[in-house]
Protein backbone atom coordinates (compact mmCIF):
# COMPACT_ATOMS: atom_id res chain seq x y z
CA UNK A 1 0.00 0.00 0.00
CA UNK A 2 1.00 3.60 -0.54
CA UNK A 3 0.50 6.24 2.18
CA UNK A 4 1.14 9.95 2.54
CA UNK A 5 3.02 10.19 5.83
CA UNK A 6 1.79 13.77 6.27
CA UNK A 7 -1.66 12.29 6.96
CA UNK A 8 -0.50 9.64 9.45
CA UNK A 9 0.98 9.93 12.87
CA UNK A 10 1.85 6.36 13.68
CA UNK A 11 3.28 3.15 12.20
CA UNK A 12 2.66 0.51 14.85
CA UNK A 13 3.75 -2.56 12.90
CA UNK A 14 7.23 -4.11 13.04
CA UNK A 15 8.37 -5.11 9.55
CA UNK A 16 10.88 -7.68 8.39
CA UNK A 17 12.70 -5.06 6.33
CA UNK A 18 12.76 -1.25 6.40
CA UNK A 19 14.14 0.37 3.24
CA UNK A 20 15.03 4.06 3.28
CA UNK A 21 14.92 5.63 -0.18
CA UNK A 22 12.72 4.82 -3.18
CA UNK A 23 15.15 5.16 -6.08
CA UNK A 24 16.08 2.22 -8.34
CA UNK A 25 17.83 0.40 -5.47
CA UNK A 26 15.03 0.88 -2.93
CA UNK A 27 12.21 -0.08 -5.29
CA UNK A 28 14.08 -3.12 -6.67
CA UNK A 29 14.77 -4.37 -3.15
CA UNK A 30 11.23 -3.68 -1.91
CA UNK A 31 9.54 -5.57 -4.74
CA UNK A 32 11.91 -8.52 -4.72
CA UNK A 33 11.93 -8.92 -0.94
CA UNK A 34 8.13 -8.61 -0.83
CA UNK A 35 7.86 -11.27 -3.54
CA UNK A 36 9.99 -13.58 -1.40
CA UNK A 37 7.50 -13.20 1.46
CA UNK A 38 9.12 -10.48 3.56
CA UNK A 39 7.07 -7.61 4.96
CA UNK A 40 8.62 -4.36 3.78
CA UNK A 41 8.38 -0.77 4.96
CA UNK A 42 9.56 1.54 2.14
CA UNK A 43 10.27 5.15 3.13
CA UNK A 44 10.60 8.08 0.74
CA UNK A 45 11.54 11.53 2.01
CA UNK A 46 9.99 13.39 -0.91
CA UNK A 47 6.49 13.27 -2.32
CA UNK A 48 5.05 11.58 -5.39
CA UNK A 49 5.96 14.52 -7.61
CA UNK A 50 8.85 16.95 -7.87
CA UNK A 51 8.64 19.90 -5.49
CA UNK A 52 11.17 22.66 -4.95
CA UNK A 53 10.70 22.41 -1.16
CA UNK A 54 11.72 18.75 -1.15
CA UNK A 55 14.49 19.30 -3.69
CA UNK A 56 15.95 22.10 -1.59
CA UNK A 57 16.86 19.47 1.02
CA UNK A 58 19.52 18.27 -1.47
CA UNK A 59 21.37 21.58 -1.22
CA UNK A 60 24.90 21.01 -0.09
CA UNK A 61 28.17 22.84 0.05
CA UNK A 62 31.04 22.18 -2.29
CA UNK A 63 34.63 22.88 -1.31
CA UNK A 64 36.25 20.81 -4.05
CA UNK A 65 35.64 20.54 -7.77
CA UNK A 66 32.01 21.42 -8.57
CA UNK A 67 29.72 18.42 -9.17
CA UNK A 68 26.31 20.19 -9.00
CA UNK A 69 24.89 17.73 -6.44
CA UNK A 70 21.59 19.59 -5.97
CA UNK A 71 20.64 19.45 -9.62
CA UNK A 72 21.83 15.99 -10.58
CA UNK A 73 19.67 14.11 -8.06
CA UNK A 74 15.91 14.06 -7.59
CA UNK A 75 14.23 13.89 -4.18
CA UNK A 76 10.85 12.28 -4.82
CA UNK A 77 9.34 8.86 -5.41
CA UNK A 78 11.44 7.00 -7.99
CA UNK A 79 14.48 9.10 -7.13
CA UNK A 80 17.00 10.00 -9.78
CA UNK A 81 15.54 7.40 -12.17
CA UNK A 82 13.03 10.16 -12.93
CA UNK A 83 15.65 11.84 -15.12
CA UNK A 84 18.35 9.30 -15.95
CA UNK A 85 19.37 8.88 -19.59
CA UNK A 86 19.09 5.07 -19.74
CA UNK A 87 22.56 4.18 -20.95
CA UNK A 88 23.60 0.74 -19.69
CA UNK A 89 26.85 -1.12 -19.83
CA UNK A 90 27.65 -3.84 -17.30
CA UNK A 91 30.77 -4.20 -15.22
CA UNK A 92 33.41 -6.55 -16.67
CA UNK A 93 35.45 -9.29 -15.02
CA UNK A 94 38.47 -6.94 -14.96
CA UNK A 95 36.56 -4.49 -12.74
CA UNK A 96 36.75 -7.11 -10.01
CA UNK A 97 40.42 -7.97 -10.40
CA UNK A 98 42.42 -7.74 -7.20
CA UNK A 99 44.16 -4.43 -7.72
CA UNK A 100 45.16 -1.65 -5.36
CA UNK A 101 44.33 1.88 -6.42
CA UNK A 102 45.79 4.73 -4.39
CA UNK A 103 46.65 2.08 -1.75
CA UNK A 104 42.99 1.03 -1.45
CA UNK A 105 41.73 -2.47 -2.20
CA UNK A 106 39.26 -3.11 -5.01
CA UNK A 107 36.07 -5.15 -4.88
CA UNK A 108 36.16 -8.04 -2.37
CA UNK A 109 33.70 -10.01 -4.50
CA UNK A 110 34.32 -11.67 -7.84
CA UNK A 111 32.65 -10.95 -11.17
CA UNK A 112 31.03 -14.39 -11.08
CA UNK A 113 28.99 -13.30 -8.05
CA UNK A 114 27.07 -10.64 -9.97
CA UNK A 115 27.30 -11.85 -13.59
CA UNK A 116 24.39 -14.35 -13.29
CA UNK A 117 22.18 -11.50 -12.09
CA UNK A 118 22.62 -9.52 -15.31
CA UNK A 119 19.57 -10.87 -17.18
CA UNK A 120 17.33 -10.10 -14.19
CA UNK A 121 18.71 -6.56 -13.99
CA UNK A 122 18.20 -6.11 -17.74
CA UNK A 123 14.55 -7.10 -17.41
CA UNK A 124 14.02 -4.61 -14.60
CA UNK A 125 15.53 -1.91 -16.82
CA UNK A 126 13.40 -2.90 -19.85
CA UNK A 127 16.37 -4.11 -21.90
CA UNK A 128 16.20 -6.87 -24.47
CA UNK A 129 18.19 -9.73 -22.93
CA UNK A 130 18.52 -11.60 -26.23
CA UNK A 131 19.89 -8.49 -27.97
CA UNK A 132 22.46 -7.85 -25.24
CA UNK A 133 24.96 -5.04 -25.57
CA UNK A 134 25.97 -3.89 -29.02
CA UNK A 135 28.51 -1.52 -30.53
CA UNK A 136 27.52 1.08 -33.11
CA UNK A 137 30.84 1.28 -34.92
CA UNK A 138 33.89 -0.74 -35.91
CA UNK A 139 37.37 -1.07 -34.48
CA UNK A 140 40.34 1.29 -34.40
CA UNK A 141 43.94 0.28 -35.08
CA UNK A 142 46.32 0.42 -32.13
CA UNK A 143 44.99 -2.17 -29.66
CA UNK A 144 44.04 0.46 -27.11
CA UNK A 145 40.29 0.69 -27.70
CA UNK A 146 37.44 -1.62 -28.61
CA UNK A 147 34.07 -0.55 -29.98
CA UNK A 148 31.90 0.32 -26.97
CA UNK A 149 29.09 -2.22 -26.51
CA UNK A 150 26.10 -0.80 -24.64
CA UNK A 151 22.32 -0.87 -24.47
CA UNK A 152 19.75 1.89 -24.02
CA UNK A 153 16.92 1.56 -21.53
CA UNK A 154 13.74 3.46 -22.65
CA UNK A 155 14.76 4.78 -19.92
CA UNK A 156 12.89 3.01 -17.14
CA UNK A 157 11.20 5.48 -14.80
CA UNK A 158 10.87 3.47 -11.61
CA UNK A 159 7.97 5.55 -10.35
CA UNK A 160 5.70 5.12 -13.35
CA UNK A 161 6.69 1.51 -13.97
CA UNK A 162 6.49 0.19 -10.43
CA UNK A 163 4.14 2.43 -8.41
CA UNK A 164 1.09 0.23 -9.12
CA UNK A 165 2.93 -2.93 -8.08
CA UNK A 166 4.00 -1.24 -4.85
CA UNK A 167 0.49 0.07 -4.18
CA UNK A 168 -1.07 -3.34 -4.78
CA UNK A 169 1.54 -5.38 -2.90
CA UNK A 170 0.19 -6.84 0.34
CA UNK A 171 3.71 -7.10 1.72
CA UNK A 172 4.80 -3.49 1.10
CA UNK A 173 3.78 -0.40 3.03
CA UNK A 174 5.28 2.62 1.32
CA UNK A 175 5.24 5.99 3.08
CA UNK A 176 6.20 9.09 1.14
CA UNK A 177 6.91 12.49 2.74
CA UNK A 178 8.71 10.42 5.39
CA UNK A 179 12.18 11.80 6.05
CA UNK A 180 14.62 9.63 8.01
CA UNK A 181 16.16 11.64 10.85
CA UNK A 182 18.16 9.22 12.96
CA UNK A 183 19.17 5.60 13.41
CA UNK A 184 18.77 4.39 17.00
CA UNK A 185 20.89 1.49 18.19
CA UNK A 186 20.30 -0.92 21.07
CA UNK A 187 22.42 -0.81 24.23
CA UNK A 188 25.20 -2.89 22.66
CA UNK A 189 25.46 -0.43 19.75
CA UNK A 190 25.56 -3.45 17.44
CA UNK A 191 21.90 -3.70 16.40
CA UNK A 192 19.64 -1.06 14.89
CA UNK A 193 16.52 -0.82 17.01
CA UNK A 194 14.53 1.66 14.94
CA UNK A 195 14.78 4.63 12.61
CA UNK A 196 13.19 7.93 13.51
CA UNK A 197 11.23 9.50 10.71
CA UNK A 198 9.43 12.82 10.36
CA UNK A 199 6.71 14.18 8.12
CA UNK A 200 6.57 17.71 6.76
CA UNK A 201 4.70 18.84 9.88
CA UNK A 202 7.73 17.65 11.89
CA UNK A 203 5.75 14.91 13.60
CA UNK A 204 8.22 12.14 14.36
CA UNK A 205 7.71 8.44 14.95
CA UNK A 206 9.84 5.30 15.16
CA UNK A 207 9.95 2.83 12.27
CA UNK A 208 10.71 -0.68 13.53
CA UNK A 209 12.05 -3.61 11.53
CA UNK A 210 14.33 -6.62 11.83
CA UNK A 211 16.65 -5.41 9.08
CA UNK A 212 17.30 -1.91 7.73
CA UNK A 213 18.62 -0.98 4.27
CA UNK A 214 19.77 2.52 3.32
CA UNK A 215 19.28 3.33 -0.36
CA UNK A 216 19.90 7.06 -0.34
CA UNK A 217 22.57 7.45 -3.01
CA UNK A 218 26.24 8.38 -2.94
CA UNK A 219 25.81 11.68 -1.12
CA UNK A 220 22.81 11.28 1.18
CA UNK A 221 23.80 7.86 2.52
CA UNK A 222 27.08 9.06 4.10
CA UNK A 223 25.42 12.34 5.10
CA UNK A 224 22.71 10.43 6.97
CA UNK A 225 25.17 8.07 8.67
CA UNK A 226 27.38 10.98 9.78
CA UNK A 227 24.33 12.83 11.10
CA UNK A 228 23.37 9.80 13.22
CA UNK A 229 25.78 10.84 15.95
CA UNK A 230 23.71 10.93 19.12
CA UNK A 231 24.89 7.52 20.33
CA UNK A 232 28.21 7.30 18.51
CA UNK A 233 29.80 10.72 18.05
CA UNK A 234 31.65 9.84 14.82
CA UNK A 235 28.42 8.65 13.22
CA UNK A 236 27.09 5.18 12.54
CA UNK A 237 29.30 2.76 10.61
CA UNK A 238 32.21 5.17 10.89
CA UNK A 239 34.55 3.27 13.22
CA UNK A 240 37.38 3.52 10.67
CA UNK A 241 36.53 7.06 9.62
CA UNK A 242 35.65 5.77 6.14
CA UNK A 243 32.06 7.03 5.86
CA UNK A 244 31.99 9.67 3.14
CA UNK A 245 35.52 9.02 1.90
CA UNK A 246 36.44 7.92 -1.64
CA UNK A 247 33.74 9.95 -3.40
CA UNK A 248 34.08 9.02 -7.07
CA UNK A 249 32.48 10.38 -10.22
CA UNK A 250 32.92 9.45 -13.83
CA UNK A 251 35.07 12.14 -15.38
CA UNK A 252 33.69 13.99 -18.36
CA UNK A 253 36.79 15.52 -19.91
CA UNK A 254 36.39 17.81 -22.94
CA UNK A 255 39.68 16.52 -24.29
CA UNK A 256 39.54 18.19 -27.66
CA UNK A 257 37.94 18.24 -31.07
CA UNK A 258 38.36 16.30 -34.29
CA UNK A 259 38.16 16.57 -38.04
CA UNK A 260 36.58 13.70 -39.93
CA UNK A 261 37.89 13.00 -43.42
CA UNK A 262 34.44 12.35 -44.83
CA UNK A 263 31.90 14.38 -42.77
CA UNK A 264 28.94 13.25 -44.89
CA UNK A 265 29.58 9.65 -43.87
CA UNK A 266 30.00 10.43 -40.18
CA UNK A 267 27.83 8.96 -37.49
CA UNK A 268 28.58 8.90 -33.77
CA UNK A 269 31.61 6.82 -32.73
CA UNK A 270 31.95 5.20 -29.30
CA UNK A 271 35.02 3.38 -28.07
CA UNK A 272 36.01 1.73 -24.81
CA UNK A 273 39.49 1.11 -23.45
CA UNK A 274 40.52 -2.52 -23.61
CA UNK A 275 41.90 -4.36 -20.61
CA UNK A 276 45.38 -4.95 -22.05
CA UNK A 277 45.88 -1.22 -22.54
CA UNK A 278 44.66 -0.29 -19.04
CA UNK A 279 46.71 -2.99 -17.33
CA UNK A 280 49.95 -2.32 -19.23
CA UNK A 281 49.66 1.46 -18.73
CA UNK A 282 48.32 1.18 -15.16
CA UNK A 283 45.42 3.51 -15.86
CA UNK A 284 41.65 3.51 -15.42
CA UNK A 285 39.01 2.65 -17.98
CA UNK A 286 37.15 5.01 -20.26
CA UNK A 287 34.44 5.43 -22.81
CA UNK A 288 35.33 7.89 -25.58
CA UNK A 289 32.45 9.30 -27.63
CA UNK A 290 33.00 11.30 -30.81
CA UNK A 291 30.09 13.28 -32.19
CA UNK A 292 29.46 16.24 -34.44
CA UNK A 293 27.68 19.25 -32.95
CA UNK A 294 24.29 19.93 -34.58
CA UNK A 295 23.38 23.14 -32.83
CA UNK A 296 24.71 25.60 -30.28
CA UNK A 297 23.75 24.43 -26.80
CA UNK A 298 22.95 26.73 -23.87
CA UNK A 299 21.38 26.09 -20.51
CA UNK A 300 19.86 28.08 -17.66
CA UNK A 301 17.62 31.08 -17.28
CA UNK A 302 19.52 33.19 -19.82
CA UNK A 303 19.47 30.43 -22.45
CA UNK A 304 17.96 32.64 -25.22
CA UNK A 305 20.50 35.44 -24.81
CA UNK A 306 23.44 33.06 -24.47
CA UNK A 307 22.35 31.14 -27.56
CA UNK A 308 22.13 34.40 -29.54
CA UNK A 309 25.66 35.49 -28.60
CA UNK A 310 27.13 32.02 -29.08
CA UNK A 311 25.52 31.70 -32.52
CA UNK A 312 26.82 35.15 -33.42
CA UNK A 313 30.33 34.16 -32.34
CA UNK A 314 30.10 30.97 -34.43
CA UNK A 315 28.97 32.92 -37.50
CA UNK A 316 31.83 35.42 -37.04
CA UNK A 317 34.21 32.47 -36.50
CA UNK A 318 35.55 34.04 -33.32
CA UNK A 319 34.42 31.30 -30.91
CA UNK A 320 38.02 30.55 -29.91
CA UNK A 321 38.48 34.16 -28.80
CA UNK A 322 35.41 34.27 -26.57
CA UNK A 323 35.79 30.88 -24.88
CA UNK A 324 37.12 32.68 -21.81
CA UNK A 325 33.58 33.98 -21.25
CA UNK A 326 31.70 30.77 -21.92
CA UNK A 327 32.71 27.33 -23.21
CA UNK A 328 30.73 26.19 -26.22
CA UNK A 329 31.00 24.33 -29.50
CA UNK A 330 29.81 25.51 -32.90
CA UNK A 331 27.68 23.48 -35.33
CA UNK A 332 29.76 21.20 -37.53
CA UNK A 333 32.52 20.85 -34.96
CA UNK A 334 33.57 17.33 -33.98
CA UNK A 335 33.72 17.04 -30.20
CA UNK A 336 35.08 14.31 -27.97
CA UNK A 337 33.32 13.37 -24.75
CA UNK A 338 34.53 10.86 -22.20
CA UNK A 339 33.31 8.82 -19.28
CA UNK A 340 36.52 8.08 -17.43
CA UNK A 341 36.98 5.91 -14.36
CA UNK A 342 38.05 7.82 -11.27
CA UNK A 343 40.14 5.81 -8.83
CA UNK A 344 39.08 5.89 -5.18
CA UNK A 345 41.09 8.31 -3.07
CA UNK A 346 40.69 9.19 0.59
CA UNK A 347 40.85 12.95 0.06
CA UNK A 348 37.76 13.04 -2.14
CA UNK A 349 34.97 12.96 0.41
CA UNK A 350 31.64 13.95 1.89
CA UNK A 351 31.73 15.59 5.30
CA UNK A 352 29.14 17.53 7.26
CA UNK A 353 28.75 21.27 6.87
CA UNK A 354 27.90 23.47 9.84
CA UNK A 355 24.71 24.53 8.04
CA UNK A 356 21.53 22.62 8.87
CA UNK A 357 18.37 21.78 6.94
CA UNK A 358 14.83 22.35 8.20
CA UNK A 359 14.92 19.04 10.08
CA UNK A 360 18.07 20.05 11.97
CA UNK A 361 20.31 17.65 10.03
CA UNK A 362 23.67 19.04 8.97
CA UNK A 363 24.03 19.52 5.23
CA UNK A 364 26.63 17.64 3.24
CA UNK A 365 29.87 19.21 2.15
CA UNK A 366 31.29 17.68 -1.01
CA UNK A 367 35.03 17.92 -1.53
CA UNK A 368 35.53 16.23 -4.89
CA UNK A 369 39.21 15.65 -5.68
CA UNK A 370 40.94 13.69 -8.39
CA UNK A 371 44.33 12.05 -7.90
CA UNK A 372 47.55 11.87 -9.89
CA UNK A 373 46.44 8.42 -11.08
CA UNK A 374 43.34 10.03 -12.65
CA UNK A 375 45.39 12.75 -14.34
CA UNK A 376 47.63 10.11 -15.87
CA UNK A 377 44.58 8.13 -16.99
CA UNK A 378 43.04 11.18 -18.68
CA UNK A 379 46.18 12.20 -20.58
CA UNK A 380 47.11 8.66 -21.58
CA UNK A 381 43.63 8.00 -22.97
CA UNK A 382 43.58 11.27 -24.90
CA UNK A 383 46.99 10.72 -26.48
CA UNK A 384 46.29 7.10 -27.37
CA UNK A 385 42.94 7.97 -28.91
CA UNK A 386 44.47 10.81 -30.94
CA UNK A 387 47.22 8.55 -32.28
CA UNK A 388 44.91 5.64 -33.05
CA UNK A 389 42.40 7.91 -34.78
CA UNK A 390 45.17 9.35 -36.93
CA UNK A 391 46.42 5.83 -37.78
CA UNK A 392 42.92 4.80 -38.81
CA UNK A 393 42.86 7.40 -41.57
CA UNK A 394 39.40 8.51 -40.43
CA UNK A 395 40.62 11.99 -39.54
CA UNK A 396 42.66 13.76 -36.90
CA UNK A 397 42.21 14.94 -33.33
CA UNK A 398 43.16 18.26 -31.80
CA UNK A 399 43.85 17.84 -28.11
CA UNK A 400 43.13 20.63 -25.64
CA UNK A 401 46.15 22.45 -24.15
CA UNK A 402 45.81 20.71 -20.79
CA UNK A 403 46.01 17.28 -22.43
CA UNK A 404 49.51 18.00 -23.72
CA UNK A 405 50.89 20.32 -21.06
CA UNK A 406 51.18 18.63 -17.66
CA UNK A 407 51.65 22.03 -16.00
CA UNK A 408 48.08 23.00 -16.79
CA UNK A 409 45.05 22.02 -14.72
CA UNK A 410 42.84 19.43 -16.38
CA UNK A 411 39.30 20.58 -17.14
CA UNK A 412 36.75 17.97 -16.19
CA UNK A 413 33.08 17.69 -15.50
CA UNK A 414 30.79 15.07 -14.01
CA UNK A 415 28.26 12.47 -15.14
CA UNK A 416 26.03 12.65 -12.05
CA UNK A 417 27.33 9.25 -10.91
CA UNK A 418 28.05 9.51 -7.19
CA UNK A 419 29.95 6.46 -6.01
CA UNK A 420 32.20 4.99 -3.35
CA UNK A 421 31.28 6.89 -0.18
CA UNK A 422 30.33 3.75 1.80
CA UNK A 423 32.58 1.43 -0.16
CA UNK A 424 32.60 -2.35 0.04
CA UNK A 425 35.73 -3.84 1.60
CA UNK A 426 36.50 -7.06 3.44
CA UNK A 427 38.68 -5.15 5.89
CA UNK A 428 36.73 -2.53 7.88
CA UNK A 429 39.76 -0.24 7.72
CA UNK A 430 39.20 0.29 4.01
CA UNK A 431 35.44 0.41 3.72
CA UNK A 432 32.03 0.73 5.35
CA UNK A 433 30.15 -2.37 4.18
CA UNK A 434 31.26 -5.99 3.93
CA UNK A 435 30.89 -8.34 0.94
CA UNK A 436 27.17 -8.79 1.76
CA UNK A 437 26.56 -5.02 1.92
CA UNK A 438 26.17 -5.18 5.70
CA UNK A 439 27.70 -2.29 7.61
CA UNK A 440 30.79 -3.52 9.45
CA UNK A 441 30.21 -4.01 13.19
CA UNK A 442 26.41 -3.74 12.89
CA UNK A 443 24.23 -6.81 12.78
CA UNK A 444 21.22 -5.60 10.80
CA UNK A 445 22.08 -2.46 8.82
CA UNK A 446 22.74 -2.76 5.08
CA UNK A 447 23.47 -0.26 2.32
CA UNK A 448 22.56 -0.55 -1.36
CA UNK A 449 23.28 1.78 -4.25
CA UNK A 450 26.35 3.23 -5.91
CA UNK A 451 27.81 4.39 -2.59
CA UNK A 452 28.97 0.79 -2.01
CA UNK A 453 31.06 0.64 -5.20
CA UNK A 454 34.68 -0.19 -4.37
CA UNK A 455 35.71 1.01 -7.83
CA UNK A 456 33.53 2.67 -10.42
CA UNK A 457 34.75 1.26 -13.73
CA UNK A 458 33.57 3.24 -16.73
CA UNK A 459 30.04 1.93 -17.03
CA UNK A 460 26.87 3.75 -16.06
CA UNK A 461 26.07 2.70 -12.48
CA UNK A 462 22.34 1.90 -12.64
CA UNK A 463 22.72 -1.63 -13.97
CA UNK A 464 25.37 -2.73 -11.43
CA UNK A 465 23.24 -1.13 -8.70
CA UNK A 466 20.34 -3.38 -9.71
CA UNK A 467 22.59 -6.46 -9.92
CA UNK A 468 23.89 -5.80 -6.40
CA UNK A 469 20.32 -5.32 -5.14
CA UNK A 470 19.30 -8.69 -6.58
CA UNK A 471 22.33 -10.21 -4.87
CA UNK A 472 21.35 -8.57 -1.57
CA UNK A 473 17.81 -9.90 -1.97
CA UNK A 474 19.21 -13.43 -2.32
CA UNK A 475 21.35 -12.91 0.76
CA UNK A 476 18.53 -11.57 2.93
CA UNK A 477 16.06 -14.23 1.90
CA UNK A 478 18.56 -16.93 2.80
CA UNK A 479 19.10 -15.52 6.33
Amino acid sequence: MLYDFNLLTNIDKKYDICIVGSGPAGITLALNLANSGKTVLLLEGGGLEYSSDSQSLYECESTGHEAWPKHTRLRYFGGTSNHWSGRCRPFEASDFSQRQLNSLPGWPISYSEIAPLLPGAMEILDLDVSRGFQAINGDLPGNHFDPDAFAKSPPTRFKSKYIDQITESKNIDCFYNATALDIRLDNTHQIVNHIEIANQRSQTISAKAGTFILCLGGIETPRFLLNCNKQISAGIGNTSNMVGRCFMEHLNVPMGSFLYEDPKEFSKLQFFTNDRFCESSNIGKSNVTMSIVNSVKSYGRTKAIKTFFKSLACQMQIEDKVQFISDFNCPGMGTIGTLIEQAPNLKSRITLSEKKDIYGLKKANLDWQISEYDRRTIRQIGLSMAKDFSKSGLGKIRLADFMLDTNLDIKYGHHAHHMGTTRMAEDANYGVVDRNLKVHDLGNLYIAGSSVFSTGGACNPTMPIIQLCLRLTDHLTRL
Binding site: T302, K306, L383, K387, K396, R398
Partner: protein, 66 residues
Protein backbone atom coordinates in the same frame (compact mmCIF):
# COMPACT_ATOMS: atom_id res chain seq x y z
CA UNK B 1 18.59 44.68 -13.51
CA UNK B 2 16.42 42.10 -15.24
CA UNK B 3 17.26 38.51 -14.27
CA UNK B 4 17.88 37.80 -17.96
CA UNK B 5 20.64 40.42 -18.25
CA UNK B 6 23.54 39.16 -16.20
CA UNK B 7 26.98 40.69 -15.76
CA UNK B 8 28.35 37.93 -17.96
CA UNK B 9 25.90 38.84 -20.71
CA UNK B 10 27.04 42.49 -20.60
CA UNK B 11 30.69 41.41 -20.60
CA UNK B 12 30.05 39.12 -23.58
CA UNK B 13 28.36 41.92 -25.52
CA UNK B 14 31.20 44.30 -24.71
CA UNK B 15 33.88 41.84 -25.75
CA UNK B 16 32.12 41.00 -29.00
CA UNK B 17 31.65 44.69 -29.80
CA UNK B 18 35.30 45.47 -29.10
CA UNK B 19 36.75 42.70 -31.26
CA UNK B 20 36.86 44.72 -34.52
CA UNK B 21 38.61 47.54 -32.63
CA UNK B 22 41.10 45.10 -31.14
CA UNK B 23 41.77 43.71 -34.60
CA UNK B 24 42.29 47.15 -36.11
CA UNK B 25 44.75 48.25 -33.45
CA UNK B 26 46.82 45.07 -33.53
CA UNK B 27 50.37 45.50 -34.79
CA UNK B 28 50.81 43.73 -38.10
CA UNK B 29 53.72 41.27 -37.98
CA UNK B 30 55.04 39.61 -41.07
CA UNK B 31 55.19 35.89 -40.34
CA UNK B 32 58.32 33.83 -40.54
CA UNK B 33 56.38 30.77 -41.58
CA UNK B 34 58.83 28.01 -40.68
CA UNK B 35 59.79 29.49 -37.28
CA UNK B 36 56.21 30.03 -36.18
CA UNK B 37 55.23 26.59 -37.37
CA UNK B 38 58.06 24.92 -35.47
CA UNK B 39 57.17 26.87 -32.29
CA UNK B 40 53.84 25.06 -32.27
CA UNK B 41 55.28 21.58 -32.78
CA UNK B 42 55.37 19.29 -29.77
CA UNK B 43 57.02 15.89 -30.15
CA UNK B 44 54.91 13.11 -28.64
CA UNK B 45 56.91 10.01 -29.49
CA UNK B 46 58.90 8.59 -32.40
CA UNK B 47 55.79 8.34 -34.52
CA UNK B 48 53.67 11.35 -33.65
CA UNK B 49 53.86 15.09 -33.11
CA UNK B 50 51.27 17.64 -32.04
CA UNK B 51 51.05 20.82 -34.14
CA UNK B 52 48.94 23.45 -32.41
CA UNK B 53 47.25 20.55 -30.61
CA UNK B 54 46.58 18.49 -33.78
CA UNK B 55 48.08 15.03 -33.31
CA UNK B 56 49.55 13.92 -36.63
CA UNK B 57 52.22 11.47 -37.80
CA UNK B 58 55.76 12.87 -37.46
CA UNK B 59 56.32 11.93 -41.10
CA UNK B 60 53.99 14.84 -42.04
CA UNK B 61 56.54 17.27 -40.57
CA UNK B 62 59.38 15.74 -42.54
CA UNK B 63 57.38 16.23 -45.74
CA UNK B 64 56.74 19.88 -44.90
CA UNK B 65 60.38 20.72 -44.01
CA UNK B 66 61.55 19.15 -47.26
Amino acid sequence: MSEFVTRRTILTAFCLASLPIQGATKEIKLPNRNTEFLDNVLPIDNEFIAVDGWVIPASNLVKRVK
